[in-house]
Symmetry: C2
Subunit: 208 residues, 2 copies
């Protein structure tokens, strides 16, 4: 069996697991998955030694279109504020569609993501990497003046968390919209910088 | 028994429930609570006809200091950007202290809040009411130009959600800090307005 064959079987089984989750609303047992895929428990065990390996493959299905969206935005010739909006908005709309199509499936996937966070983490790190590229591009164009890239990264991520944290969506989906996300991105481009605007005050400072 | 007596007994029992949650890490059964409080199940039932009534009283204990903080900030003579920062920061620090002191207790309270969201809702509505006052004050001073108050409210709430949504705190507490919150509030005062900065583009517009 070649590496390609192995990867092919791995993703075929992950797709079977994905469909089982969608159909049953819960996480499939190894028995269910082997039966549904028409293979032995022994074979399943060889492909996915434990639940975490299976979820890693399922996570690849979840994140593949999201990663493609980010790459497409980065490769585009949009102005950088348009890029930053599309970077978040396309993924938000895609994930919201998944939630709206099947809230039970969506929540099960969130639970799996929480339990096997190490695999979600890889993809979050990739999103952060791409976002850093956009921040550098924005700074080249004169935005986010004076901020370290890591500082801009964490502030931007926090300001758009409602649109990116999967577990939040079921709680606040009715309050989220593309035009509010755009207003938040506009606010960043108009106001985010290293300048101290004074909202924290001088508590803690002492005279020399 | 006067209304004051009844409210006194209600809050005494809620405090017993609070302490039981803190000690056991879980939600107390009616049996446990009656036993701990030294009253009959019948008496407990008279004070709290169902679990939701009990949680309403426990929620009063949770929210009382938070509501006091908001009122203190509103009544202060700080500049409005300082007020907005303190409005969020004081409650964030208080809630983070509760989480750090006892993460298990904190999560149990979040679960209770999710299950009896109608009581949390009352307090969220109060926070929104106070925030609207601050937004009006900021607009009088020339900030957030052109925005409807409800629009400013939802945008501000979304931009600081990491610092206010209780269920998020355990996931991202290590990334949150007062100075980042201040940078977000500074960004709002520097950049939040009704002006279309163009990040959403003109997709969907058609020529006449």
């Amino acid at each position: 069996m070649t590496a390609d064959d192995r990867q092919g079987e791995r993703m075929r089984l992950a797709r079977v697991a994905w469909d089982l989750i969608a159909r049953t609303g819960g996480e499939p047992s190894a028995e269910m998955l082997a039966h549904e895929a028409g293979i032995s428990r022994h074979r399943l065990q060889a492909v996915f030694p434990d639940e975490s390996d299976l979820f890693e493959a399922v996570a690849e299905i979840w994140f593949a279109p999201l990663n493609a969206m980010m790459e497409e935005v980065l490769a585009s010739d949009l102005p950088v504020n348009r890029k930053l909006y599309e970077f978040f908005a396309r993924r938000f709309v895609h994930v919201r569609d998944l939630f709206r199509a099947d809230p039970v499936f969506y929540r099960t996937m969130c639970d799996l993501g929480t339990r096997h966070f190490e695999h979600a983490r890889t993809n979050i790190d990739l999103a952060d990497h791409y976002l850093c590229e956009l921040i550098a591009e924005a700074q080249d164009a004169g935005h986010f003046a004076g901020l370290e890239i890591d500082r801009a990264l964490t502030l931007i991520n926090q300001m758009v968390a409602c649109y990116t944290v999967p577990d939040l969506l079921p709680l606040i989906e009715h309050r989220l919209s593309e035009d509010k996300l755009a207003a938040i991105v506009d606010t960043m481009f108009a106001g985010l910088s290293a300048r101290d605007g004074g909202s924290q005050g001088v508590k803690g400072l002492r005279a020399a």
